[in-house]
């Protein structure tokens, strides 16, 4: 009888693996593991008027120029990008209270100027090194002040540190000497 047969029948699960494999391979192929990370930057608002002339003490300004052949000129002297971060840190914190470096971390200003022919990779590397300098200074300050790493501080403690060493990176209009590729 039909009823008896139904009791005996079992669904063959042998092909389940094949089906799962098929789906697996489909997802493997379409997958792009999201790498949505990047250097966060806040641009200054646009204004049609030329920016007001500010009288800045030159000792507080750290000017970084990047030319069309990706070379650095920092405060009038060529520099290797590998030493940029350490030099920036020294400039901001000025541990020896030198005359030609920032009076106070709160007054230090970093100024970047690039050329239209500068490679984007180099530009971002420079920006990254400058940001790294600030991050390291914040981390050191957090250890000294609160005895804790920066990411374990609460909001008020964090802002206390970032207010003492504010990140000020100003970008000038790029020059137009180099060739755009």
């Amino acid at each position: 009888m039909a009823k008896k047969n139904r009791m005996v029948n079992e669904i063959n699960a042998g092909s389940m693996a094949d089906i799962a494999f098929l789906l697996l391979i489909f997802f493997l192929v379409t997958t792009t593991i999201a790498e949505d990370k990047g250097v966060l930057v806040k641009l200054p608002p646009w204004s049609d008027e030329p920016p007001p002339e500010m009288k800045l003490n030159t000792r507080n300004v750290y000017s970084v120029l990047v030319n069309a052949s990706n070379q650095l000129l920092v405060r009038g002297e060529p520099m290797d990008i590998k030493t940029l971060k350490d030099n920036t840190k020294i400039f901001i914190s000025n541990p020896q209270k030198l005359e030609n470096m920032s009076e106070d971390p709160a007054k230090a200003i970093i100024s970047i100027k690039n050329d239209r022919g500068t490679q984007y990779g180099t530009y971002l590397e420079v920006y990254n090194e400058l940001k790294a300098a600030y991050n390291e200074l914040w981390e050191e300050a957090a250890m000294v002040k609160f005895g804790k790493p920066l990411d374990e501080l609460n909001k008020t403690q964090r802002s206390e540190i970032t207010d003492a060493i504010p990140l000020v990176i100003s970008e000038a209009e790029p020059t137009k000497f180099g060739e755009e590729k």
Binding site: A20, T32, G38, L40, V41, P45, K82, R116, Y127, N135
Partner: protein, 157 residues
């Protein structure tokens, strides 16, 4: 030696494959979860540079993308070999960015519009001229939060 000889000739029991579907399903679910379907086809090469000071983009719905790079071989005939901007699924000029941003804004609730971030996926070979034009255009459109997409690396010593 005799130990090894004894085993020879004995019929080996077949390895049970009953757990194979389970393992495969586990992998399948993993990939289903991490998968993010690519909604637009990339028409430019965007080999992003490496950087160490990275911020993660948390809310995917608040992020719009601007791609800059050389057109891929498929689009070389149409778009040339010079670096181009890709907005959504087509090539664009810097002056089309404000409209693109406005269109994106309509998909975001009004209370969250301040938090919109533009992610710039730019090829590291591209020169700053075109990037500067895009930056100026973004500033004029009032979109000031941007994120230069990059691969992560260790901080230099």
């Amino acid at each position: 030696m005799s130990k090894f000889k004894k085993k020879q000739g004995n019929a080996q029991p077949a390895i049970s494959t009953a757990s194979l579907p389970d393992i495969v399903f586990m992998l399948l679910f993993f990939f289903m979860v991490v998968t993010k379907m690519r909604d637009t086809e990339l028409m430019v090469t965007t080999n992003t540079p490496q950087a160490s000071e990275l911020t993660k983009l948390e809310k995917k719905t608040l992020v719009n993308f601007v791609f800059i790079g050389r057109p891929t071989p498929k689009y070389k005939d149409k778009a040339g070999t010079k670096p181009r901007i890709q907005l959504g699924d087509k090539f664009a000029n810097p002056d089309e960015i404000p409209l693109f941003l406005e269109k994106f804004k309509t998909t975001v609730p009004e209370s969250q519009r301040q938090a919109i971030i533009t992610s710039m996926k730019v090829d590291s070979e591209v020169t700053m001229g075109i990037v500067g034009d895009v930056k100026t255009s973004l500033r004029k459109a009032g979109q000031l939060k941007i994120n230069y997409s990059a691969k992560s690396r260790e901080r230099t010593k």
